[in-house]
Amino acid sequence: MKRTKKMGDSAASPNGGPQKRSKNGRNGKNEREQAPARFYGTPLPGVHPEELSGSLVVVEGTDGSGRSTQISLLTEWLESEGFAVETMGLRRSFLVGEDIDALLAENSVTRMTLALMYGTDFFDQVERRILPALRSGLIVLADRYIFTLIARAAVRGIGRDYLHGIYELALRPDLTFWLNVRPEVAFDREFKKSQTISYWESGRDMSLSNDLFQSFIRYQSMIKREFEYLSKRHGFIELKGEGSVSEVNRELRKRIASHLGIRRTQYKPSHALAHLWR
């Protein structure tokens, strides 16, 4: 796995001297290779990065990429391996999750307001659920992360530097997977699932086309371009999301297992999740 070796400006060891990384004796991690800083920039107020002993695994990908399915399966697999899992995603904060749903339902909200509400939603989850989980050594599975938020706002003309400035308070993931699918495939899968295409997933607020299919394809292509850029920048592990659920899952397990030092990567979903395995 290729990781960005660049350090953040603020955190971690200033002089490369022999640094004790406390509580980090987990197998599988190369002790001599210095881990990248846990935050992109200034850590959130009041947070001490060295306390965070858990791992943050991000799965990104558009609707229809199979992201949520994979998160369900990974949760079960990790729990069966004895790891406690916490999940996060978009609009799941207690603080503003439902408010964003309400904003999306009406069309009076503008791009900056929405971007900042998503930011509030993100940091509320991080501060109230994710940081406590990481302090307790849990594995956090993120069903989308700052990259989706940055990509969505950037295609709407909000500066990338501005967005990165807001999210520099965010935790840097240990692993970021990108389930890449072509917009046409995402369209088929989404349509099959819900018999329609959502207003926001087709970027209809951007007046790209009156043809819903065209609008969806153009919007998702724009998002994909942002992701290609973000992928290079942040060292995403790109997986072909068009493969079967079990193939993608095997690849995910392989990478996560090597990060966590799990030897056995065999997994068969339980009866409850068997319907996802196709």
């Binding site: 660049k6 350090m7 953040g8 400006d9 603020s10 992109y40 920039g41 200034t42 850590p43 959130l44 107020p45 009041g46 947070v47 207690f94 603080l95 503003v96 408010d99 904003l103 009076s108 909200v109 503008t110 791009r111 900056m112 307001t113 971007a115 900042l116 509400m117 930011g119 509030t120 940091f123 509320d124 501060e127 109230r128 950037a154 003309g157 909000i158 500066g159 990338r160 530097d161 501005y162 990165h164 400035g165 807001i166 520099e168 308070l169 371009r225 850029y229 920048r233 942040h234």
Partner: protein, 279 residues
């Protein structure tokens, strides 16, 4: 518990962005405001993207008041507004933290004490963004004189007093148009605090800065919190070109000064009522 982490200013390379020349002026504008330094920022971005730009190319004008609670700013802005309203000028008045879209979230967050310094700040920024995009910017473009009771400097002073990083805050609000006049009403801490404490049955939790755990006594906590905010305001007088107003002067005297300054700095004639043309 109130650590210096949030106030740490990172010294690192200033970001140069590769943009099409058409956007350069905007970028230069941001480069001066945003001193973002995290390592994810030094990218050569693939295409030009503009911020919702706070261009000064609008016919309107923006006058804002700032100051700690009890400094007299709202009274003075109200009187200024009455003066202009009675004169028939084209004005719009907007208040901090008043967007209907964001209101329920803010209320819930405050009532249930869910807000951290970061989410407190972001939620207020969302509120401001909504008013900015749907009121302030369109009205400035439509040639209005916009009066704002509290503006981005409230966030800079107050959120930094809560521990948010000043440079992060500057970036967060960098989409805001720069005011034509920023009146800073300054009253001594005791005067301001006594005005508030005397007039209010109970200080609210966040208002008193209770989330910072400075003191269990609300009045005492409020006082210390306001002092920090006052210090942060004072530091912006030079950098942000505040017009300093003495909040201890008599109300009518202060108002006279304020009207005079507005008359000097803003071309009021352009907001005056149009005389009907003779047929």
């Amino acid at each position: 518990m109130f650590s210096a982490i949030g106030c740490k200013v990172m010294g690192a390379s200033h970001t140069i962005l590769m943009f099409d020349s058409g956007f350069r002026s905007i970028i230069n504008y941001y480069a001066s405001m945003v001193t973002a330094t995290s390592d994810i920022l030094d990218a050569r971005l693939p295409a030009a993207e503009s911020m919702p730009a706070p261009k000064r190319e609008y016919p309107g004008a923006l006058v804002v008041v700032e100051g700690i609670d009890g400094s007299g700013k709202s009274t003075q802005l109200y009187l200024l507004k009455r003066w202009l309203e009675i004169g028939g000028y084209r004005i719009h008045f907007t208040e901090w933290n008043s967007s209907p879209l964001v209101k329920s979230a803010t209320r819930r967050g405050k009532q249930r004490r869910l807000l951290t310094p970061t989410t407190f700040s972001l939620l207020h920024a969302a509120d401001f963004a909504d008013r900015c995009e749907r009121q302030i910017l369109p009205l400035l473009q439509g040639g209005y004189l916009v009066l704002a009771d509290r503006y981005i400097y409230t966030a800079f002073a107050r959120d930094a007093a809560r521990g948010c990083s000043p440079h992060w805050l500057r970036n967060l609000y960098s989409f805001a148009p720069v005011p034509d006049i920023t009146f800073y009403f300054r009253a001594p801490l005791d005067v301001a605090v006594n005005r508030i404490v005397a007039g209010r049955p109970k200080l609210k939790y966040y208002e008193a800065g209770m989330d910072l755990g400075i003191s269990l006594d609300r009045t005492e906590s409020f006082r210390i919190f306001q002092e920090r905010i006052l210090n942060n305001y004072d530091q912006m007088v030079e950098t942000d070109h505040f017009v300093l107003m003495d909040g201890t002067l008599r109300v009518n005297k202060l108002q006279k000064q304020m009207r005079q300054i507005v008359g000097e700095r803003v071309e009021l004639a352009q907001f005056a009522p149009q005389k009907p043309k003779k047929q």
